[in-house]
């Protein structure tokens, strides 16, 4: 048994394997594997997360900002680098 797609109607169907390639029974049939598109790649949502310096471990799992690129242990302190006050100093 094989899963096929009818190219004329777009419908998928289980058929005996010998249908595929048969001049009458399988002329419009194509093995489903050759035409099924891969699922679209999911965008990684982590890069859109915003850093929260004083995040709280709401679910008590020992982690804060779970599932984001900022995920870290609850006790870990992170600090944002302060923006330079005098931009000209960094231009050297």
């Amino acid at each position: 048994m094989a899963l096929a797609i009818n190219k004329r109607t777009g419908k998928s169907v289980n058929v005996p394997e010998h249908y595929l390639g048969h001049p009458v029974l399988g002329k419009d049939l194509e093995p489903a594997g050759s035409v099924v598109k891969a699922a679209p790649k999911k965008e990684n949502s982590k890069k859109f997360a915003k850093h929260v310096p004083d995040a709280v471990d709401g679910d008590g799992d020992g982690l804060v900002q779970d599932g984001t690129i900022w995920q870290r242990l609850a006790n870990t302190k992170t600090e944002e680098q302060p923006a330079p006050t005098n931009i000209e100093e960094n231009e050297e």
Partner: protein
């Protein structure tokens, strides 16, 4: 001296549901209304059924009874006509009138029988007739090797029955209508085509296909014209009587039936081609149904066209019937002196359409 009445002193007529003001007392002007009462006698085969049967009965005993008791309660009757199919499907004939009257299910009629006069004899006040109320069931095609094609009109009873009642006085009209042309009987041989249309080959929905079968889908690659491969031996395909459900109201004095599930069946015997064949009707039929145990179980529609010469191309506006099946058992038939065949049983899948017109 008493004289026996001989054939053919009987006539069968069909009246529309609104033909009578009071169906228990038809008047002469009503029963001779050519627009509402039709003479179908020449189309009906001799083995018709239109009669009362034994009434239902109650067997309650009184304490003084010394033997069994059966007291009739409500009346029973049955009706079923087989009518010849006209070779010319366009002719204005009695055969085609019969077919058109009973082509669709759930149409109410009064069937009328008159015994004692030729069917062509004009009605007169005082003629004794019997009136049976019916609703149509799906018609069935009756086919057979060397037999005429017949349309089997099947009926459900409405509980309205009166036998041997007089036609009341009135002014006679020109009816019942009797077509001038009787028709030409049509043989089954060479007048059937059968197609297999897999469900995945339908370009639209199954409901749309059943309402108006598409010639394009029937003839598309992947669908098969099975006609050339089918043997008469074991041919069984089509609708049969629907389930008849007793459904009386408190006012009903006769048997009232409601149409239950439609019934249809399919079993076809195919010729087996020689092993070296890799094309043709025998080969295609075998290839389509040989894999009965791999789990794929082909699902589709067996579409039949009856009454049109098989060599006529399928086209729009031709009457066909379609039955949804799943292919089931595959059985070799190698016995006897005839050619090797195989039989495929098809299991019904709950959807059918009878006598619907094809579309392009």
């Amino acid at each position: 001296m008493a004289t026996k009445m001989l054939r053919p002193n009987v006539g069968l007529y069909v009246a529309t549901y609104d033909a009578f003001v009071d169906w228990t007392a038809p008047t002469l002007d009503e029963i001779t209304d050519a627009a509402k009462v039709f003479n179908i006698s020449p189309a009906v085969t001799d083995d018709y059924t239109l009669n009362m049967t034994d009434s239902e009965s109650d067997d309650s005993l009184a304490i003084v009874d010394n033997a069994s008791v059966q007291t009739p309660t409500y009346t029973n009757y049955e009706a079923s006509f087989d009518g010849f199919r006209d070779e010319n499907i366009a002719a204005d004939s009695v055969y085609n009138k019969f077919r058109s009257l009973f082509a669709a299910p759930d149409v109410k009629y009064y069937l009328i029988k008159r015994v004692g006069k030729l069917h062509t004899a004009a009605f007169a006040a005082g003629d004794e007739i019997s009136v049976y109320g019916v609703k149509t069931d799906f018609p069935i095609e009756i086919l057979g090797d060397g037999e005429m094609i017949r349309t089997g009109a099947r009926f459900l009873t409405t509980g309205e029955v009166r036998v041997n009642i007089d036609v009341a006085a009135g002014t006679a009209g020109s009816g019942p209508e009797l077509k001038a042309l009787v028709g030409t009987k049509s043989t089954s041989n060479g007048k059937i085509r059968v197609y297999w249309v897999p469900s995945d080959n339908l370009s639209g929905t199954e409901a749309a296909f059943l309402a108006a079968p598409s010639v394009a889908d029937i003839e598309a690659t992947g669908s098969i014209d099975l006609t050339g491969a089918i043997a008469w031996d074991g041919y069984d395909l089509g609708a049969s009587d629907s389930n008849k459900i007793d459904d009386r109201g408190i006012l009903d004095e006769g048997q009232v039936q409601t149409r239950g599930f439609a019934q249809f069946s399919g079993s076809l015997t195919f010729f087996r081609g020689v092993t070296s064949e890799t094309a043709g009707a025998y080969y295609n039929a075998y290839e389509a149904f040989k894999a009965a145990t791999d789990g794929s179980r082909p699902v589709g529609f067996l579409v039949t066209r009856v009454g049109i010469p098989a060599e006529t191309d399928l086209a729009a506006d031709q009457e066909v019937s379609a039955f949804k099946f799943i292919a089931d058992a595959f059985m070799d038939n190698t016995e006897g002196e005839d050619s090797v065949k195989f039989m495929v049983n098809f299991a019904p899948q709950g959807n059918l359409a009878v006598n619907v017109d094809t579309v392009v």
